[in-house]
Each structure stands twice: as structure tokens, then as C-alpha cells.
Amino acid sequence: MSGKFEKFISDFGWPRIIIALFLLLLFASTPFVGVKLDTSISDTLVRVGMNGVLVLAMVPMVQSGCGLNFGLPLGIIAGLLGAVTSIQVATSFDALYQVISSGGSVGVFASALSSVLQSGARGLALFGIALAIALPCAAILGFLYAQILNRVKGEEMMIATYVGFSSVAVMCMAWLLLPFNSPVMVWGYGGSGLRTTISTEGFWRHILSDFGSIDFGNFYFPTGMFIFFAIMVCIVWAFFRTKTGTAMTAAGSNPEFARASGIDVNKMRTISVMLSTVLGAVGILVYEQSFGFIQLYMGPLYMAFPAVAAILLGGASVNKATMANVIVGTFLFQGILTMTPSVINSILKSDMSEVIRIIVSNGMILYALTRKTRVKR
């Protein structure tokens, strides 16, 4: 019995147990500091669902030996492109629908789409359009990103960080210049250039979250978002159970071995980077539909760090990550991130949630990167 218990502890890892106990302590202390427990749990779960896919986007690159995906903003940008395009499409076809209703005639496809967008499937169709635009964009950007990473083997994480940063900077210009004209997105005074924050209300806000969601007083559980997260986890898990996924893992574990077994290591790395970038794009769409807003310009800049912190906290190392690392890590990290500020705020009676959030999230990255623990089997 005690042997089993010890094995559980060593498999789970002391750092995670300590943090889980701390999180439990935070939840337990809520009634005494005047924070609502049900709201806290609900907030934590929502944040887990929002960030889950972004954390999952770390896995392919870690497994193939490209290190942690600090270039996550690149995938996020692809997702944002999909998001703003879908809203532009909605605006354009809404206008078209007006034309049709007043007797104008348009092509078959255009009229079909515009009537779909007026139906109950509007949100889902628009979210689908966002995905359909985001995925190819992410695949192309990921391919180019992989070409850079294949030239800097051993220094991937540093280079990836700056790929992320500079792509955000480039897009700051692009958001201003791209020819979007939907009134809900462009600056009111100039009539061109996208705003920093765009609401998804009326398009696909909570399209996943509200699917079969549970509302119970202050408690809200975004069932659909969790189902979606679960599907994504299953897809990635299944991918690593295939021949290609196995080859990718081997390429990350020992590239020389993989090469001697006839594997094209650069190709495996490229696939993994593309996969990570695509997951980043999907992740941000999930995030935004729950959050309710699309954040452009500097929004994606620091998005990689919470995801990195979460997966490291979940017990992944820079060259091995599992689905369990993703799920456990996201829950612990988002739990701490949600609970620490609210509990401490209530104790200190002042609002310093943002400061605490930064200290906690960066502190965890620092902690996790300095301790390169080997993952247990």
C-alpha cells in the first residue's frame, strides 16, 4: 500500500504536489477572506478551458526536440487573422442580405451563405470560417518558422522568442494597413485600421463555451469548451501514437539515432513546428470566443509565457511532454493565477492583482526552467 503511495508521489512529482496543496489551501481559505468559492472554481475552470489548447501547442515542438514554443505568438497571429476575417465576412454578407431582402439578385453561393449567416447556425459558421482561414495561415507561417528553427539547432528557444516578438511587431503595422472595413472593427475616427480590441459579441462569442454549459447560481461550467479541449488533446495524443508521431519523438530524443534509422529529422521538426503553430491558432480562437474579445497589436506579445509556465509546471521538461503534463499543468497554473490575486487582494484590501499575476507567472517560468527535472515514465 505504502509502496503504491510512494510510487504515486514520485510519478506525480513533489513540486506538483506542493503546488496542488497550496492551491487547495487557497480554495479552502476563500470563505474566510470573503471570496465566493463557487465563483472561484468557476473562474478557474473557465481559464483552464481558455488556455488549454494554447498549452497543448507546446507539445509537438517539445517532443521533436525544438524546445518550448516561445514563438507561440506566430500561431496566435494566424488565429487572429482568421478571427478578424470571419467578422469581416459577417459584416459583408449581412450587407448583402439586406440587398437580397430588398429584391437584389446575387450569386447562388453568396445568397446561400448570407442566409446561413442569418440563421441559428450563424455563430458556428463564422467560427468555422475563422478556423478555415486560420489553419492554412498557421501552416504556412509554421513552415517558414520551422525553416528558421532548423538552421539554429540548439538555440531554438531563444530564436523562437524573438520570432514571436518580431512577428507581433510586423503585424502591428499589418493590422493598420490590411483592407478591412467592417465598422465593428475599424477605428471610428479614421475609418481604416483595426482597433486594438474587437468584440466577438453578435458573431461567435461563447460559441463553444455555451454549448451544453451548466449554470448554477454563481457556478458556470463551459462544457462545450472542455469537450473541444478534450478532442484536441485526443488528436495530439493519437498523433503521437502513430508511426510519424513515434518518429517525431525519436527525432527529439536522439536525432542521430533517428537519422541512422532513416528518419528525415528536419522534416519531422518542420511537421512539429507546423503542428504547434496550428494548435496555437486554434488555441487563440478558443480563448477569444470565451473571453469575448479579439485583442490585436501587442495582445499576443506575452501569450507564450503563461503557456510555457503551465506545461513546465505540469512536469514537462524542455524535451519531453505528455498530455498529463498539459492538463495538470494548465489546471495548477491557471488555478494559482486565478486564486492568488483574488485571495491576496481580499487580504490586503487593495487591487494589485496584475502585479501578483506577473510575479506568479514569471516566477513559475523561472522555477520550472531552472529545474530541468527528468520526466518519469
Binding site: R241, T242, T246, A250, S253, N254, R259, S261, G262, R377
Partner: protein
Amino acid sequence: MSNRLDSAATPLLTVDAVGKEFFGNRVLEEVNFSLYAGEILGLVGENGAGKSTLMNILFGMPVISQTGGYDGRILIEGEEVRFSSPFDAIDAGIGMVHQEFSLLPGFTATENILLNRESTKYNPLVEVFGDRIKTLDRRDMRRRADEAISILGFSIDPEALGAEMPVGHKQFTEIAREIDRKSTKLLVLDEPTAVLAESEAEILIKSLRGLAERGISMIFISHRLQEVIDLCDEIIILRDGRVVKETKPAETSIFQVASLMVGRNVEAVSTERRLMEETETILDVQNLWVDMPGETVRDVTFSVRKGEIFGVGGLAGQGKLGIANGIMGLFPAGGNVTVKGEPLRLNDPALSLSRDMAFVAEDRRGVGLLLDEPIDWNIAFTAMQVQDKFVRKILGGLIKWRDDAAMREVALDYINRLEIRCTGHRQRAVELSGGNQQKVCLAKAFVVGPEILFVSEPTRGIDIGAKRLVLDTIRQVNEDTGATVIVTSSELEELRSVCDRIAIVDSGRISGVRDASRPAEEFGVLMLGESPSLVPAAATIGGETF
């Protein structure tokens, strides 16, 4: 020429029952000897006989304490010592001249010789910052360097940069460094003549003898047996971690030393010969070149008959390892290679593998294994990727699902057959001992079911028991499946015990192919290439740097 004082004097160095185990693999056992002031001790033995381990223990290398320390005692002038770092050893008066040069390339000979022992002058800043800020006394440094070099009796430009020196000069600079250290009482020289030209080696031998007369003791490790016999007062022959003989040069000969090193009567070939019938050629290599760093293959032509065990031997660095690596596509290569009558396009590992060839690499940890992955992955991976074994096809082959159950089965089968000692098929490869790792590498190659199997350095760094088993396994696979095996090894005796024919590689070319039953001397002559008459053939049995 012995400087041994009366027997009542305390020896400078006493090694008392020293032993060492690496991860349950015994590499050194009950080594005893003592060394008096001014004496030169020659240490000879094959690769892996335990010479380096013994010197690492003596020099307090961290690798020893990290792997559980050593047994027995080491006494310096009658006092037991247990060095925890090389610095302790240096303080105790032991100097080491390494096989690999440890000179700073951007420093001059003088600076390298006096590194961290520079002559210094006072300046006022010393009052504030202490001794570390003293100015270098270049003139005195030059004088000391000149003095150390002149003791050696070899002229080196004291101002030459480390990076620009010829190898011979580097070696002398290293030794001069140890000479300048006035406290040096014992000098360990690990193959100091390996990189020297013959004339340079003679000068070195002479100056070492001069040093011995000044009372410095030496441990001289070399594969050039003639030098050892010329220079040393005592010779210790190590084999498989044991001292097999302690003798004096006058009482022995190169021939005797060589046969003691390999542990067999050199004349007698142990195993019975198989009658090789003339079969068709399965692998034909014409004018192969391979650009493998340190093992360059220049122009190699040979052919291997179906079903034979073909050996590739030669000294280290001559290119024997490059051949298999080149054919398997791991290093840039050119030339014509014909496999089963069809030409093979080189430089593509996947293509070579798909032609029913498999490779057990010499670099087990670097290329041969997925150290962080379990045994079953290691064994099944290559076959899965190359031949779609251990794969379940779903949706008409669209998804190739890994078949863990089949992998487990094959892993357990090989664990059983090759007696791989492990906790189970999910144990990670890094946790296995060297011999068991090698068995995993072999299993990986066997699973592919190759018609041509390349095995490089199959017994490097594994213990005696495992060595035998590995060689027997190779032989057995050859007999059972009819696979053609090409074994590359530095150990000639090993090749002679397992192969049908042996090719000897010298300077990137094949200097000859002989039947394995030919006497060892004949192979020794081939290994030396151009000047076979200069060195007695038996001295090459050690089968490495000469």
C-alpha cells in the same frame, strides 16, 4: 639503468590492491605495484585493459568519485592519499601529460608552460587588490620557459602560439609545463609519442631519461612496445583490469609483452575454421570514399561473399569505421557500392536500410540508442520506420497506428534470447550497463531481419562475459539466418576469432584482405602499411595506435 635505491627506502608511489567497478562492470582488480624515485614504469595493455582508469584514479579525476570511488589504497611516500580532484594530485607532486593536448591556443609556449604559475612583479595596486593584480615578469617567465625547454633538449620557439605549433612541439610544451613545476615528483605520460615523428620520439625518450636522472619518477603509457622496453625500468602488463605480469625489460621481449597483452599465444588461432564455400558476391564496393571526421576513408575496394563474416580491422583513425558509416549513408560518401547486384545510391540512410542492410553503430550512446526511451522502443523503432513492422493500419493505411503490444512481445523475446539484464521492457536504455545496451543495439538490428549486417566495435567498453556473448550472438545469427555480417573492430584477436576473412585498413585504403586463419603477424604487417620490416609484427597485436 635502474635508479632504484636500497630496498629499505620508501617507494614514492605505492598502489595497493586498487580496484574499480563501473556500474557493476569490473574494470580494475587488485592492482599492486610500487615506484621508487627516479624510476620509470612502463604500463602496457590493450584498449580497455584499465590503463586509463588506473591513471584517472591516481590523478583524482572526478569521474572516479562520481561513480562510487575505488577499492584499495594509494600511498605517496608512505602516506595514504585519496585525491578528490586533480588539484590535490598536482599539490602532491603528480604531473600528467595528457593524450589530448590541453594547451590554450591563443597563448604562447611560454605562457602555456607557466600558466597560473607566472613570475610576477610588485606594483602599487597590489596594496589595494591583493596579489592577483601583480604584473607579469615577462623576462623571468621567458628565462624559466627556456630553462624548462632546454632540460627537454628540444628546441621550441617560446613565443610560438599554441594554435600554430606542430603537434610534436605541443607535446613538448606540455611536458615542459610539468618540468617547470618544481614540486613534480611523478610524471604520468599517456601515449606521449603517439603523435610524434620517429626522430622527435627519440629526443623525447632521451629527455625523459634525463628527467629520471634528476629524480623524477615516471609512469609511461605507450603502445610502441619498443620504446617501453628501451625506456622503462619496470614494465607492468595489464589485461582485463588485472596485472598479468610485472617484469624488467632485460627479462622480456616485445614478442612476450605482446602475447601477454592479448592473453593468448599469438601463434595459436583458437576457433575451428569453417569451410567457406564459394558463394556469390552480395556486397561489392569500388573506390569508396567517406568523409567521416577522424576516420577518413580514401579509396576502398573490396567485395563480400554471401553468408560470410567479413572482418574490417586496422589501427584507430585509419578509416576502418568510416566504411560501414559511409555505406549506411551516415557520412558524406562517394564511389560505387553494389548490393545484391543492384547499385546503391549513397548518402541516404533510409535507402540503405531499405536494401535489407542494418547497422550496429560504434557510437552506442550517440547513434545506437534512444537513451531516454524504453527498451521496446529502441528495439522496434528502426523496423517500424523502415519496414512498417509493429504498425496497425487504420482507414486503409491512412493512419499508421503504433502497435504497442507487438513491440512489447518482440522486446520480451529479445530480452529473453540475448539475456538482456533489465527490470522489464519499459526500462529506459540509459539505465542499462554497456553490455546490455550493446545487446539492445544488436536486437534492434536483428529485428529488421537484415541480409547484410554491419557491426562496428561490438565489444568496445563492455566486460569480458558480455563480450563473448555478443560475439557468439553475431556468429549465431550468421549461421541461423544466413545473414552476411561485416564486423569492424580494433581488436584483431576478436576479428580472428569470429570472422572468415579480414580486411585491414591503413591510411583510408585497404592494405590487404587475408583469411582469418593466417598468423597474426601477417595482419600486423598490413596494419603498419608501408614499413612492415621496421617493427616486429607481433607488436601490433594490441590492435590500436602504434
